[in-house]
Assembly symmetry: C2
Homo-oligomer: 346 residues x 2
């Protein structure tokens, strides 16, 4: 069973996932795992191969049997989970200062399409919308677990962003702890709320809209921008324009419109930067705090363009090499209605 350990110096938690353990020898260079080859026939996420995954926790299909083909979105437990839905919530200190608990939680893969070679940002609007609604459905289900404290939805695109399987998929991890860095972000937000009487994150979004120069696009419900203090070049936030602490509160109509925004932003990266690897993650309130007025969920996209190194590790200060004003301007100029060839010619 995996294990959670709390760093006594920072109070941050670490997962020791022994079920996905590698032996020390496996880290010898050359023996490192390579990206899965494109053998669609053996891909565990492809239709027809449903038996290669644990039983599904969600599937959108019109016809067909549970754990059979016919789905267009499907969620399954990760075969190599970081956390598993068994074990105790008790925290123990067998040795003083070294606190641990069982690796209790859930780790799911959300297969975004039956199409092995699909590209998320080039999906139909409808398909992205279904993926977002599946995120919400799994959030709501996982948040009912007695141990669930935080539910993280994320997507790793490309080998340098940490993907090992190329079939389009997202991941969802439900944790039994609230990470200290999230607590601290929320402490600051609460303090601001108690002082200003408003949501800090809403005020940040409002100021970004005032300034305007870092905005990529704005719709009725959402805004996408490169934040003032971006840590990474082309780091992008997508945030709702009305107070909503948790992604789980998104309506079907909002999901529809968010799908368009998300697709557009990712397609701008795809065409503008020639299909960079990236991660995205949905920052949302902890379980039970969905209706708080001091926080705003947001989706953060980080293309893997730079390599944080020793300085970032030592200081927590990130060095970025572009002004977000400039990258936002670049993004605004990228057309997504034309293919890459038309882009290059433009």
């Amino acid at each position: 069973m995996p294990e959670l350990r709390q760093d006594p110096a920072t109070q941050e938690w670490v997962i020791v996932a022994t079920e996905r353990a590698r032996r020390p020898e496996d880290f010898v260079r050359g023996a490192r795992p390579q990206p899965a080859p494109e053998r669609a026939g053996l891909c565990p996420f492809c239709p027809g191969n449903e038996a290669l995954t644990p039983p599904e926790t969600l599937a959108y299909r019109r016809d067909g049997q549970v754990n059979g083909p016919g789905w267009w979105v499907r969620a399954v437990p990760n075969r190599y989970p970081a956390l598993v839905p068994e074990g105790s919530q008790d925290r123990t200190e067998d040795v003083r200062l070294f606190r641990r608990m069982d690796g209790l939680g859930q780790h799911e893969v959300l297969i975004e399409s039956p199409d092995h070679r699909g590209t998320f940002c080039l999906f139909d609007d409808k398909q992205v919308e279904e993926v977002l609604l599946a995120y919400r459905e799994r959030y709501l289900e996982l948040s009912k677990q007695r141990w669930a404290r935080l539910i993280i939805v994320f997507r790793n695109q490309g080998v340098t962003a940490g993907t090992s399987l190329s079939h389009p998929h997202s991941q969802i991890i439900a944790t039994p702890v609230v990470p200290i860095n999230l607590r601290r972000k929320h402490e600051l937000a609460v303090r601001y709320y108690d002082s200003a009487g408003r949501c800090l994150y809403c005020d940040i979004v409002a100021q970004e809209l005032n300034v305007g120069r870092r905005i990529i696009l704005q719709t009725e419900d959402f805004v996408a921008f490169h934040p003032f203090a971006s840590r990474f070049p082309f780091e992008t936030w997508i945030a709702p324009l009305r107070l909503q602490a948790s992604f789980a509160l998104i309506t079907v109509d909002e999901a529809k419109r968010l799908a368009k925004v998300l697709k557009t932003v990712l397609a701008k990266l795809y065409y503008g930067l020639n299909d960079p690897d990236y991660n995205f993650v949905i920052h949302t309130a902890p379980v039970g705090d969905e209706h708080k007025e001091y926080y705003l969920w947001h989706l953060q996209i980080v293309p893997r363009l730079t390599t944080p190194a020793g300085f970032e590790m030592g200081s927590g200060i990130f060095i970025t090499t572009s002004l977000p004003e400039d990258t936002a301007e670049f993004m605004r100029g990228v057309r997504v209605d034309a293919g890459p060839r038309e882009q290059a010619a433009a």
Copy 2:
């Protein structure tokens, strides 16, 4: 001039280094900077090419002229600095919530050897010792700057660890702010000190020694171990055995013995994992706190073996795939008195 920006949500600072700026177009895949080719004749860090660097701030040489050859360790300002020693310490908020200040500070390169093809962990003991003493000397000098708040010494080894030049070198960055995450670590340490009456970090080291299973090696003054809650496989800490808040307080004799420990640990990684890329960084007290009793400086080594991805980004929780007990055992078993071929045969 570079700029520092404070994230209004986390109070973390970001450096926008406009002097090393790349245009957005430069991030297009294929156009990314490649590692510098091995043309030793043009390497700005090689002896004879001193004119290719800004004037030196330190050099250990017996004979020869300032900014000429004859040195065995040399420090120079980085030609593409993240921070520069000019500008104001004033913080301004032209737009409410968006606080900025000038990118005041200093960014130096410490050239560790005249030998372009040298490998740090295979240097003579004496050479590593001289490098450590040069770190200390530059620390002491930089800490005299009125604006200096934190001095970070770090080393990036290999392209995946963020190096762009292969000639052996470390870097030193002096910042005009104390990062919030360091403040928070220190707040926890102060609280522990006020409660237990002892240094938290010293107690952590003592507990690691009690447990023993994660220790790599121990000498009269130092211990090297894989911490209980390691964030990365093979993450290694080297810490002094007596209370010392700042690396700047290290004596010449201690530097001599630290050199041996550092070389041995890095050589174990080199032979054991076949020369992995890595970062190391010296965590030390902020300027002015060198004599505090609640902190212990330590050197952290992180080989680049895994790829933190969306989950880590969203949660601050790192997933590691090895028990530090196992990796420490592996490290203890790696012989460094034999070459790699002998290792493989053993």
